[in-house]
């Protein structure tokens, strides 16, 4: 049951075997994806035709490596731009929300809190289509009324950013609120008592305290943005982020280039994921 309670050896070993199997199950698909990035074949499947770096550095069709695939490189940049805006916006709004929910009491607070949590239980695809439908009808109305074009309200990067922002902000709010809740408000009072102004106290004491959480929230936001598919799919215009590009590729039939991209993604995500955990542990 716990380490201090004696258990039979058979039980302990069965339990350990189960845990081991579980982690094999977790690792298997990822390891497979990574391994086949080096298969010297145009399919990411058996048989194993030898080792190659082509799917990273190749320049000859059909073996064009990730680093020479313009569309993939472009979509990585697109994903990066989207992630930047999404994490920036959601951390800012999340920080405001955290202050609002932790520091203020007002009528309707509970209702707003539930509303704030709602994006967690709305399927991503619904978020996507509702924003698509809504922004399109606004755009139609505006265009009819003014004769101008409102491209920002049509599928494209702006909507992708807004769509992802709409639910990632909830995560940012939760992460930052959790830390702000742990903030001992007497620290702020101490700053006031030592002569700091209200804003000075927040800037010099509260925000530095929140910083690890804000950074962790930003990393989480970047990761969620990078991997988001359902919401993005409905809002994407001509600039497709990486997952959408990969999905299109996958539908058309996969080559190990996809494995190569995945491998890079896994490496980067793992690094970022670890980073965010390290930051969280500072809490």
């Amino acid at each position: 049951m716990i380490t201090t309670i004696p258990q039979s050896t058979a039980f302990r070993w069965t339990y350990r075997a189960y845990v081991t199997l579980f982690f094999i199950y977790l690792a298997l698909p990822l390891v497979t994806v990574c391994v086949f990035a080096f298969n010297d074949s145009v399919f990411p499947s058996l048989p194993w035709d030898g080792f190659t770096w082509d799917w990273f550095f190749g320049t000859e069709t059909p073996r064009i490596g990730v680093f020479h695939e313009r569309p993939i490189l472009r979509s990585i940049v697109t994903s990066g731009v989207v992630a930047f805006w999404v994490s920036g916006l959601s951390v800012i709004v999340g920080t405001c929300n955290a202050f609002l929910f932790v520091r203020h009491d007002f009528r309707g607070k509970n209702l707003l809190y539930i509303l704030m949590l709602l994006p967690l239980i709305i399927p991503g695809i619904i978020l996507g289509i509702s924003i698509l439908v809504f922004s399109s009808s606004i755009a139609n109305t505006l265009e009819e009324a003014t004769g101008l074009w409102f491209d920002g309200l049509r599928p494209g990067l702006i909507l992708v950013v807004l769509g992802q922002f709409s639910f990632i902000t909830t995560f940012a709010t939760l992460v930052i609120s959790a830390r702000l809740q742990k903030f001992d408000s007497s620290l702020e009072e101490a700053a006031l008592n030592l002569g700091a102004s209200k804003w000075g106290a927040i800037r010099q004491v509260t925000l530095p305290f929140l910083f690890p959480a804000m950074l962790a929230a930003a990393v989480v936001a970047v990761l969620m943005s990078f991997e988001n598919f359902n919401t993005t799919l409905m809002l994407v215009g001509s600039d497709a982020p990486l997952t959408v590009t990969m999905f299109d590729r996958l539908k058309l039939g996969s080559t190990p280039v996809l494995n190569a991209v995945s491998l890079l993604l896994i490496v980067v995500s793992a690094v970022l994921g670890l980073l965010s955990l390290l930051l969280k542990r500072e809490d």
Partner: protein, 331 residues
């Protein structure tokens, strides 16, 4: 300018793009897609987001009527002499709406059967895909060409029923029943050209309904696999150029059209995409091997038997969609 091109896989090979960019100074961003998604995207953006798209000719007029997502083609900006006149004309007729022309032809080809003759030599027509000898080794798309192909194979004439929704519904019901019964034979419904090629190449699928080019390309690696024009007739399609109503780089779009229709470029595209183009003299530079395969798949009577798609009247797609959904849901 940047030309945002919404097209099929293979229609804008990297070398062609590079040559075009070098020659004109435009940049090209290629998004690969299919008919439904092209229209869906343009509908969502209200005709924005892209500067040039390539739906099939039967999908232009209906979509224009419903959503108004294209702008008329300015034929004066196109070097019409580059096109095979008959195709140009047929396409213009099919893509006209309220007196304006919305599309010009680019690539044409057929859908038929791609078969591993060593393992599924018996497959000669669409209905043969439902035979017991290929059980579990079959693939086709769950899209309208499959409905049409099976209808012809069952001795029906879906195109004749286009004008009459009830009659067409009748046709669809029969096809639906057939495809539901056939479902157990299917390994998976394929989606993109490379996907079906992978399935055939790996041997997971031995007989499929697919585009002709796939068969010819696979033939290079495995002589057993090839395209077979079905007994009841291959389905002929022409993919077009259309200009989205809110495209922002019309000049670049026209430049692209005129560029890729040049016989030398057209030949390059044929060599990668596998399909012939509407370019006058474009087949001159095509690999002899490809021409041979084409001729082997299409003896004269097979060419005559090709069923060319007429434009889809608006509204029929809803019927087809419902039928496809039911097939998908069947167990």
């Amino acid at each position: 300018d940047t030309l945002r091109l919404l097209t099929w896989g293979g229609y804008a090979p990297d070398e062609v793009v590079a040559m075009f960019e070098a020659e004109t100074g435009h940049t090209v961003e290629v998004t690969k897609s299919n008919n439904e998604e092209m229209i869906a995207k343009l509908r969502a953006t209200n005709g924005g987001g892209f500067d040039l798209a390539q739906p099939s000719q039967d999908r232009v007029a209906g979509a224009q009527a419903e959503f108004g997502i294209y702008k008329p083609i300015d034929l004066s900006k196109i070097d019409t002499s580059l096109f095979i006149p008959s195709m140009m004309q047929a396409t213009q007729i099919n893509t006209s709406f309220e007196g304006e022309v919305y599309g010009v032809p680019h690539v044409w080809g057929t859908s038929g059967l791609v078969v591993n003759t060593a393992e599924a030599g018996g497959v000669q027509d669409y209905l043969d895909l439902c035979g017991p000898d290929v059980a579990g080794k079959v693939s086709y798309r769950l899209k309208r060409p499959t409905l049409i192909g099976f209808a012809f194979s069952m001795g029906l004439d879906p195109f004749a029923a286009y004008g009459d929704a009830d009659a067409y519904k009748e046709v669809l019901d029969q096809v639906e029943a057939k495809l539901v019964a056939c479902k157990s034979n299917v390994k998976t419904y394929w989606d993109g050209g490379d996907e079906i090629k992978n399935l055939l190449r790996s041997g997971e699928v031995t007989a499929s309904m697919a585009w002709d080019t796939g068969g010819w390309q696979l033939n290079d690696d495995n002589a057993d696999i090839t395209f077979v024009a079905p007994k009841s007739g291959a389905l002929g399609w022409i993919d077009t150029f259309v200009i989205p109503s809110r495209g922002r780089a019309d000049d670049a779009a026209y430049d692209w059209i005129n560029f890729v229709m040049r016989p030398d470029i057209a030949a390059m595209i044929t060599n990668t995409a596998g399909n012939f183009t509407a370019s006058q003299g474009g087949d001159a530079g095509v690999d002899d091997a490809l021409k041979l395969k084409y001729q082997a798949s299409f003896p004269a009577e097979a060419i005559d038997n090709i069923k060319w798609y007429p434009a889809v009247p608006a509204g029929l797609e809803a019927l087809e969609g419902a039928a496809l959904d039911r097939i998908n849901a069947a167990k």
